[in-house]
Symmetry: C2
Subunit: 316 residues, 2 copies
């Protein structure tokens, strides 16, 4: 197989031995792989792969067709169109994935769009529901709403019956975010004028969190899953105590196989029907060939995109 390989902070397209699926795993011939902020951190050496995952091949989600199955997996899986959450290694022509981390791609959904589904929707679903305890009728603020996880969170929040406030850098995607389900849109400079919220999905980090914390209602929950603007913030503990806030940091990657299976299972159960009905979308901002992946990495932090950057392996 070929893979996008991190070599001292740079990316190269290199040949690697074909991976072999173990018991309970499948081998996916990758059609496309989503690009995520965590990949950029990994390239910079700031987000090492967990044990058992190739240390130098990034990629936390993919789509493609099952090419082979390991022991204990039904042969009928071969040839099926799947998307998967991975612990790394997705930015390659082939990738081994545990069967229970697969999502079947609905008919009518292309594999490019499907490649951007697993990480964004699993992250947003876990953060909003399992970590944040978001309930119908509550106000949800999503920072970095134009990004991949942000677009997913806006749709999940709306589907759940929350009032969704989408915060972006400059408002240029407000119309698209309203179409996805945002009830209100706001730019960071105007945040102070927004009515307080119950739950925050923080996808930006240091640039937004201090102002965000001042807009959280008593007993609010702030779930931090992205820190692209910086990770160091000053916290006023007295304010956190006074409002009885909870701040939870979360990441999917370091979780055990069973924990990830649990997240994927919840997404399949809660969001699968809506994905099949066309009620959930993955806006794709840019598609780049995997072998040119370095270019996509450079584009990732450039402002102005809506949704995901997807790398294609040629079989999409």
């Amino acid at each position: 197989m070929f893979a996008l390989v991190i070599d001292d902070g740079s990316l190269a397209w290199r040949e690697r031995p074909d991976p072999v699926p173990g018991p309970g795993d499948v081998l996916v011939e990758v059609a496309a792989a989503g690009l995520n902020a965590a990949d950029l951190l990994q390239r910079r050496g700031l987000y090492p792969a967990p044990p058992g995952v190739p240390a130098d091949v990034p990629g936390l989600e993919l789509s493609g067709r099952v090419a082979a199955v390991g022991d204990g997996v039904d042969e009928s899986w071969v040839g099926r169109r799947v998307a998967a959450l991975t612990a790394g290694g997705a930015q390659a022509t082939h990738c081994v994935v545990p069967l229970e981390h697969l999502l079947e791609v609905p008919e009518g959904v292309g594999l490019v769009e499907a490649a951007g589904f697993p990480e964004a929707f699993c992250t947003a679903h876990d953060a909003l529901l399992t970590q944040g305890g978001l309930a119908a009728g509550e106000r949800l603020l999503v920072t970095g709403a134009a990004g991949g996880v942000g677009c997913a969170a806006v749709q999940i929040g709306r589907a759940l019956g929350a009032t969704v406030v989408a915060l972006t850098r400059d408002g240029r995607h407000d119309e698209a975010l309203r179409a996805l389900g945002a009830d209100e849109t706001v730019v960071a400079d105007d945040l102070a004028a927004t009515e307080p919220v119950d739950v925050v999905l923080e996808l930006v980090g240091a640039a937004t969190l201090p102002a965000v914390l001042r807009r959280v209602r008593p007993r609010g929950r702030v779930v931090v899953v992205g820190v692209g603007s910086g990770a160091r913030v000053e916290l006023d503990l007295l304010a956190v105590m006074g409002a009885r806030l909870t701040l939870t940091g979360s990441t999917l990657r370091s979780r055990t196989r069973a924990e990830k299976a649990d997240v994927v299972g919840r997404v399949a159960r809660d969001l699968g029907p809506r994905w099949r009905d066309g009620g959930l979308r993955v806006p794709v901002a840019e598609v780049v060939e995997l072998r040119d992946g370095a270019r996509a990495y450079d584009d990732f932090s450039r402002p102005g995109k809506l949704g995901k950057l997807v790398l294609t392996a040629g079989s999409a």
Copy 2:
């Protein structure tokens, strides 16, 4: 009645109109009132009383005898020895308290010691169990363990079957903390050598929290209820995400009457039998007459004490 009154950052002993119990309330003739860090903050103007509570009479817990009852409260309460969680106003000769915020003081427990029970044990119980989800077999770190809430937390953690690590400034009370139930004791400088913990009760604030956060296991819960050393800390969000930590700020005072009743009810249910059996103790570091309360406030922040400072109204 007479009360300790905050007047522009100072404390004075002044006469005030006698309070009258409303429906569902009792009037307590105060025997003693515990002193808490929140009172010091209130004196400095940093912790305003919630609506409906006298703004200038501090005091969040008391013991005494019921002197009168409001509508709907059985007359048989009159004369009973009680302790109570209050939203303020306890540092006076008389205080009105909702019936459901009372705890009956066990026979054999003196009213001085009882005055230091409600705030410390309600705060610690709520923080450890309701906010922190502490479970048997987990490792609990209590910072500021020699303080009133700290001594309560050590005892509750032990009773729950957790392994309790008590952190103090200088270790001078290590023996007493082990007698209360600490399995291990540590001073702040040696924290890095301690085995990581699952739950932290942070009672000190800025001076300890950054080092504490480096000793928390993945999925750990940090509950902040005290910030005597300072409230501003720099947080590394990437570390919080990587370890999937939850940081919760909590305070009892701002809660509704029903929420407080819930906390008091849990304490009565979970800890009442152990309090009656002599299995829970309130170490009292110093007893000062209420009318000399200013002196106790000055002593509060002086290092070296174990347990509570209690102010007595003369009827103890």
